[in-house]
């Protein structure tokens, strides 16, 4: 039997649960903060929370919920990715409104931030949901052994 390399597991880490993604997300954000001046070291905690903790946990929770409700798998992958992506930006808007509201009130700042971040992210979130479905279809057709190994597909199905 040929054994898959370790990288295959890492590539589909999100299937193993959201906790692994949090670490990976932190690594990516550290690189972007230092090399790209995108994000930053002082906002690392806030960015990690919105991007690598809140989003993935929502996606994972939704996926498990859809699984229990026996929704079509492709549909549930789409909505888990789509809503998780959108939720990331809602959390960002919430964080910004919480930090910067001295001239108005928290609720006004939250509304304005939501318009900017959730509004612009809507089409992107749809695209991201679509691409995630495409990747999952690819993995389902070509990487069955790995998916079985992480418990995504049950044995003998």
């Amino acid at each position: 039997m040929r054994r898959p390399g370790l990288n295959c597991y890492r590539g589909i880490a999100w299937l193993r649960g959201p906790a692994a993604v949090s670490i990976l997300g932190l690594i990516v954000l550290v690189f972007q903060a230092i090399l790209l001046a995108h994000g930053g070291l002082t906002t690392l905690g806030a960015n990690t929370f919105s991007m690598a903790i809140a989003g993935p946990f929502v996606s994972y929770g939704l996926f498990q919920l859809f699984k229990k409700l026996k929704v079509n798998r492709k549909v549930s992958v789409f909505f888990a990715a789509f809503l998780g992506d959108l939720f990331t930006y809602c959390v960002t808007a919430f964080q910004l409104a919480l930090a910067h509201n001295s001239a108005t009130s928290f609720s006004v700042a939250l509304k304005e931030n939501l318009v900017i971040f959730a509004g612009t992210q809507l089409p992107l979130a749809i695209v991201e949901g679509i691409l995630t479905v495409v990747i999952v279809i690819g993995l389902e057709s070509y990487a069955k052994p790995e998916l079985k190994a992480v418990g995504y597909i049950r044995e003998g199905k």
Binding site: N7, L36, F117, T120, V133, Y142
Partner: protein, 107 residues
């Protein structure tokens, strides 16, 4: 076999849809300004919190003594994307080959 064909069609439709969503605004909103939500967010902070002064500067900007040029920033993002796509393509290529192999062994 039938299911496989359906999947191929679905993937094609989904990819076309994704490209359409990405490029439709360019053609449909000809006079629109295309900016980033980051810049909009910055100007919103100036409105909701006018007294705020950023108290930290990105490390790279401190080293360079100025902002990273926009083109270089785009380039770095592209390199990041390229590395990611390379890894995914390499692994998917291996998976596709392996499936062929396993089929040959069965026969």
């Amino acid at each position: 076999m039938e299911k496989k064909k359906n999947n191929k069609l679905l993937v094609a439709v989904l990819l076309i849809l994704a490209v359409f969503i990405a490029f439709a605004p360019l053609f449909m909103l000809k006079d629109a300004e295309f900016g980033g939500s980051d810049d909009k967010g910055n100007s919103l902070i100036e409105e909701t919190d006018p007294d705020y002064e950023p108290w930290a500067a990105p490390i790279l900007e401190v080293i360079l003594g100025g902002e990273l040029p926009g083109e270089v920033e785009s380039m770095l993002f592209c390199v990041q994307t390229g590395i990611g796509v390379g890894i995914i393509a390499f692994l998917m290529g291996r998976f596709v080959e392996r499936k062929k192999w396993m089929k040959d062994e069965e026969e």
